[in-house]
């Protein structure tokens, strides 16, 4: 391997030069799809272009992306539990108070980001990530999902985002329209419903990814 290190560097340098040439030869001024998006904004139900693209114009991407999140979680659960680091001590008073203050604030901020996503930067992914961080914080201070919530309630929460998105996507079908083709009059409400469920599902999925095992499993070795 060591003898070929210079060859590898040379090839990667060539790749970098080629990619750089390709990027620099692109036109200096380009609007991309921005005029198309702005032209259709009045039909999207929201006023923020990125949210309109995420949940209306490119709804397929977002729907499948949430399925990818679930797949990653299934992958981790099928590993059968990860080795536990070490028995955790009780959180000290500082950490306990910090968590008691920070977790509600994080939940409020997640709600704010979700709400503001309709007209300004924000939305389901950012809100879900903040919610996931709140879940990670709780786990770090020794909190574990109660036994009775770990079975069906957890699973239903995890799939709720994809399920509600699919239902909303299928709603236009009986009216003779296409999958994910919302009525512009109701698009705003539908997007908010989809985003609300997606936020909770993304947050819980990210927190479960951090936990690293199916909580209904018997304690891993």
């Amino acid at each position: 391997m060591a003898g070929y290190a210079w060859l590898l560097r040379l090839l990667l340098l060539l790749l970098a030069v080629g990619l750089g040439y390709a990027v620099l030869s692109l036109p200096d001024q380009a609007q991309g799809l921005q005029p198309d998006v702005l032209g259709k904004m009045d039909q999207s139900g929201v006023t923020h272009p990125v949210t309109a693209v995420l949940l209306n114009f490119r709804g397929y991407d977002t729907l499948l992306e949430m399925a990818v999140l679930l797949l990653a979680l299934l992958g981790i659960w099928s590993l059968g539990g990860l080795p536990e680091a070490r028995p955790e001590s009780e959180p000290g008073p500082v950490l306990g108070t910090l968590t008691q203050v920070l977790v509600p604030v994080l939940i409020v901020v997640a709600g704010y980001l979700l709400w503001t996503g309709a007209h300004a930067p924000g939305g389901a992914f950012q809100a879900g990530a903040v919610l996931g961080a709140a879940g990670v914080l709780l786990q770090l201070t020794g909190w574990r999902l109660p036994r009775r919530a770990a079975g069906h309630p957890l699973r239903i929460t995890l799939v709720a985002g994809v399920a509600v998105f699919l239902i909303v996507a299928a709603l236009p079908l009986p009216g003779g329209r296409q999958l994910l083709e919302y009525d512009p009059n109701y698009a705003g409400v539908l997007i908010l419903v989809v985003e609300a469920f997606a936020t909770v599902s993304i947050g819980v999925t990210l927190a479960a990814l951090f936990f690293g095992a199916d909580p209904t499993d018997k304690a891993p070795k």
Partner: protein, 102 residues
């Protein structure tokens, strides 16, 4: 040459740096970091090229793609870390089988 192109070139640099690290280093955690850095480079190129409109607002489509990309990247990282821990539990070393242990 303008600001977006500066960032696009940095993105290409990050991609190639990450690619180099992915090939050269044997420890799996380092490979995971390298893949993340490669992904960040790709995101940087996408977002930089979206801003070529000058004074106009940037193209929102690449932004939406990058946001989903960031969330997918973190979930893939979590899965990769889990697999790495399983490799370590099975072989005692967090390197790919058949690799030298350095």
């Amino acid at each position: 040459m303008s600001v977006p192109f500066l960032y696009a070139l940095v993105g290409i640099g990050l991609f190639c740096l990450g690619f180099h690290g992915l090939i050269v280093y044997d420890h799996l955690l380092r490979k995971i970091l390298a893949i993340n850095i490669m992904g960040s480079g790709v995101f940087l190129v996408l977002v930089a090229l979206a801003k070529r409109g000058g004074e106009a607002a940037p193209d929102p489509v690449p932004h939406a793609m990058v946001i989903t990309g960031i969330v997918v990247a973190v979930s893939a990282t979590a899965l990769a870390l889990g697999l790495m821990l399983k490799v370590q539990a099975a072989t005692g070393h967090a390197v790919l089988p058949g690799k030298s242990r350095d």
